[in-house]
Amino acid sequence: MRVHAGDGTALAPLGFQFDVATGARQAEHGLERARDAFILRRDIEPVLRECGVPLASHRAEVLRGAQRRSGMGRSHRYRRPTIGIGLTAISALLLVSAVMTDTSAQPTRPPGASSGPNDMPSPGLAEQPAIQNPAVSPQNAPEQPNAAAGISVAPNSGGTGAAAMLNVPVTTLLPGNVAPPPRPANPVEGQAQALQRGMTYFVSFNCVGCHAPNGGGGMGPSLSNSYFLYGGEPADIYLSIFQGRPNGMPAWGTMLPDSAIWDIVAYISSISKEPSKTWGQTISRDAMSEEQVAAEYGQSTAPWGATQKFSDGQKPNRAK
C-alpha cells in the first residue's frame, strides 16, 4: 500500500498483511474444530486466490514466524468477529472476515488452533460435522504448500523455537561421551484441551490413515506403546512431525503451525502410555492378555483406559 504524507509526498511503501478470522457460535464445538482444521489445512487458499487477495509467500511467512518466536503463548479468540474487509461467505459453515493489520505495528495472530478457555470441546470425533473436502486435484496439488493464506503461522510458546529445537539430536549416540542437550518440554503437555485438539488434528490431517486409530500403526509405525524409532520425548516427536523422517514420514512443518504440532505431540504422548511396565515386551499368547476396545466404539485421548480380553482374531465379546 502506498501512503502519502499530508503534504502529498509519497512515503516508502508499507507492508500490509491480511489476517483472516473466523467465527463460530458458542457451543458449536464440532463446527469449531472443523473450521480449525479447514484453516490449518489451508483449504482457504483457493478461495482467497479466487477473490484476488494477494498472498504472502510461504517462505516470507515462515521467516516472519521465526522472528516472532518469543512470548507468543496466548491463543486467539475467534469468537469475537473482528472488523475489517468482509469476504463473501465462502462456505455455509464459515464466517470469514479479513482484518487489515500493519505487520510492523503489531504481532500477527497465533493460529486458529485453539478454542476459548471456557469451552471444553465435546468428546467423540464421530459427531463432528463434515470437514470440507478441499477437492484438490492431483494436478494442482503440488501448488498447495507454496503460498500462505495470510493466516499467521506462529509458535505458541517461548523456548520451543527453531534454534532450540535444532539442538535436539535424533539419536542417543553422542561422540565424546558428552551429556545430551536438554530437550524442550511440550508447552501444552497433558492439557485436556490440547489433547482434544491433538486428537482432532490426528484425524483431520490424516495421521490416522497411516498410524491408525489410537495409533496402532500400519503404513506407519505404532504410537500406542513406549517404543519410538526416532525418540519418544515430546521434542523428538515434535521434530519427527515437523521435519519428517526418511523412511516415509512426511515433513509436516510445511503445513502445520507449531502450536498444532505440539497439540498432536501431547495427544501422541497420551496414547502411547501403555499399561505394561516392563522394559521390554514379551510376545506370546499368555503375555498378551489384553487389547484396547476398538475405536469404533468410542475414542478418547487415553485409549489404554478401556481394554478387554485379547480376542485372538475373533470378534470381540464386548461387541453387541
Partner: protein, 651 residues
Amino acid sequence: MSVSRHRNEHGWAELRPQGDARWGSTRVIERLMTILPRQARSSLSVGCLLASSLFVFFFCTSSFGQSDLQSLMKDDRNWPMAAKDYANTRFSSLDQINAANVGQLRLAWSFSVGPSRGQEAAPLVVNDTLYVVAPYDGPHPNQVFALDAATGELKWSYAPKPNPAAKGVACCDVVSRGLAYDNGKIFLNTLDNYMVGLDAQSGKELWVAKLGEINLGETITMAPVVIRGKVFAGNSGGEMGVRGWLTAVDANTGKIAWRAYSTGPDKDVLIGDDFKPYYDFMKGKDLGAKTWPGDKWKIGGGTVWGWISYDPELNYLYYGSANPGPWNSSQRPGDNMWTSTIFARDPDTGAAKWAYQASPHDLWDHDEINESLVLDLDIEGRTRKVLVHPGRNGYMYVIDRASGEVISAEPYDTITVYKGVDLKTGRIQPNHEKDPQVGRTVEDVCPAPPGAKDWQPSAWSPRTKLLYVPHQHLCASFKASEVGYIAGTPFIGATVDMYAGPGGHRGEFMAWDPVKKTKVWSIPEHLPVWSGALVTAGDVAFYGTMDRFFKAVDAKTGQQLWQIRAPSGFIGQPITYLGKDGVQYVAIMSGVGGWPGVVANAEVDPRVRNSALGFVGATQDLPFYTVGGSVLLVFALPSSQPSAPSQTPGR
C-alpha cells in the same frame, strides 16, 4: 549368442541376435508403426491378426521383436511370468512330483533376498535362470537376483536407486509381486514408480522410465506383464486419493506408449467408438467423470495393482481396477466409474473393448483387481470363451470374455452386504440394511474390506477342471467418517475392525467347479490364506499359510499330502520348473507380511484392533507364529537330487 547392441534415435533395437532373417521385416513394421497415424496402425495390427497366410503371420510375429515369451510359457521347463501364462492358470504339465511321491519333498537350496518384509513375489524361471525380486526395504530395496535355477548359484543382482520415502505411501506393506520377462530382458517395477528394463543375461540396466509420483501417493506393487512388445504396469494407492491407471511401456525403449486412466472423461479412459459394454448402466458418454460429484474422479482411486491376463486370439487384455476413494462412500455419491471394474482392452492401442463394473459405488473397499483366468468351459452344452474371476466381493464370476456378459456369479464365501448379482442388469444388489453411514458402526460386514479373496492368485488345472482358490474368511465392523484430501496422505474415512467369519476360521483353500458353480472341497485354515496357488499335472496343488507351513494337497480330493514348517509365514506365489539337471523343482518365497502381515513384520501393535486399516483385528495373533522373513525355498524329491556333499541344507 552373438548380439548387436544397437540403439538409434527411436531406440528400435537393442540386443538383437545378428543375422536374424526377420530383421528386415521388423524394421519395416516398426517404421510403419512410427509413421502411420493411430487408426492406420490399429488396422495394421487387425490385419495381422486376420491374415491367414503364413508369410503374413510370420511378418506379424516378427513385428514385435524376437518375443520368446509365448513359446516359453508353452515349455514347462520355464515359469516365464508370475501367473505362468497369459491365461493366468498357474498350471504346470510337469509331473515328476505327484500325489504318490510329494510326501518325500525336501529342501534343495535356499536364498535370502535381504529385507524381512512381505514376500509376495513370484520367482520367474527362464532358460535355467531363476529371477526374483525383494520387497522395498533395507539398503537395496527391490533388489533383483538372478540365480542358477538348479544350484542356486548367484549370477548377478541389480539394485535400483533407493528412495526410502516411498515406504510412507505404500498402504499394505512394501511388497513387490514379481518381475516380467521377454526377449532377453527382465522388467522390474519399483515401489517408487520406476519401471526398469534389464539385460536378463548380465543384469545390465537398459532403460529406466518414471511412471508415477510418490508425492501424489502413487506406488507400484504389481508384477509387470509383457504383451506384444509392451510392458504393462498400473499404480497402487487406492487408499491415498490416487487416480488409477494402466500404462503400456515400449519394451525396447522404456517410452510410454499409452496410459488408460480408470476415472475421468472417455478420452482419458481410452473409451472410443468400439467400446461395447454389455450392460446398459455402463453405456453413455464420459461416465468416468459424470458418475462422480464434481471433479472427485481426479482423486477417486480405481488403481491397477493386480493381474493382467490376455487372449491372443481376440487380442484383448483383461484386468480389474481397484476400489473408489475414499472408503467413506458418502463423499462420492454415484456409481464411481470405472472403479472396481473389469476391463477388456486392445493391448496395442489401449482402446477399451468392454467393461464390467462389479461393484458400482463400492461401499466396502471391494477392489476388483483379482485375476481373471482365460478359460474355455463347456457350459450348458456349448463351449464358452470365458473369464473366471474370483471376485473380492465374494462372487465367483464367469464372464463371456468377448462381450462382457456375466454368465454366472455365485457366492463362494459368507456374504452379508450383498444379496446377489442381477444377471439381467449386471448390477450387484447391495443389502441396504448394512449401508454405511457417517458415525454409525455397521457390524458383521461380510466379506470384510479385503474381500472374500484379495490379490492372492488362484490356479486352474485342465486335468481336474477345478479352480484352486486361496482366500480369507473375514467379517468386519465398519464406521465411516469424513476425510479431507491432502495429496500424498491417506484418504480413507473409515474405522475398520476385522475378525473371523462364521465358524471362527479366517482362511480357506478350496477347489471350485466353475461350471457346476460349487465348492468341491475345502480346507479351512485358522489364518487368512494370503499365498498364491500352484497346481501341476502330478495332480498336486500347493499353497502356503501365514503360520509358516508350505503344503501340498491332492488336487482331486484336497487331502493333505505334505507340509514343511518354514522360517517365516507364506504370502508368496509357488511356482514349479525343470532344472537343467532334469529335476522338477517347486519354489516359493517365505516371509510373512502384506496387508494382514505387517503386524508380524513391522512395528504394529497387535493390541490395537484398528491397526493396518483394521486387518490387525483379524491377525493380531500372527506374531505368536512368525516374524518377517526373506528366504526363497526351493524343493525337490530326494531321489532326483544330484548327489552332493551337503544334502538338504537347513536340516
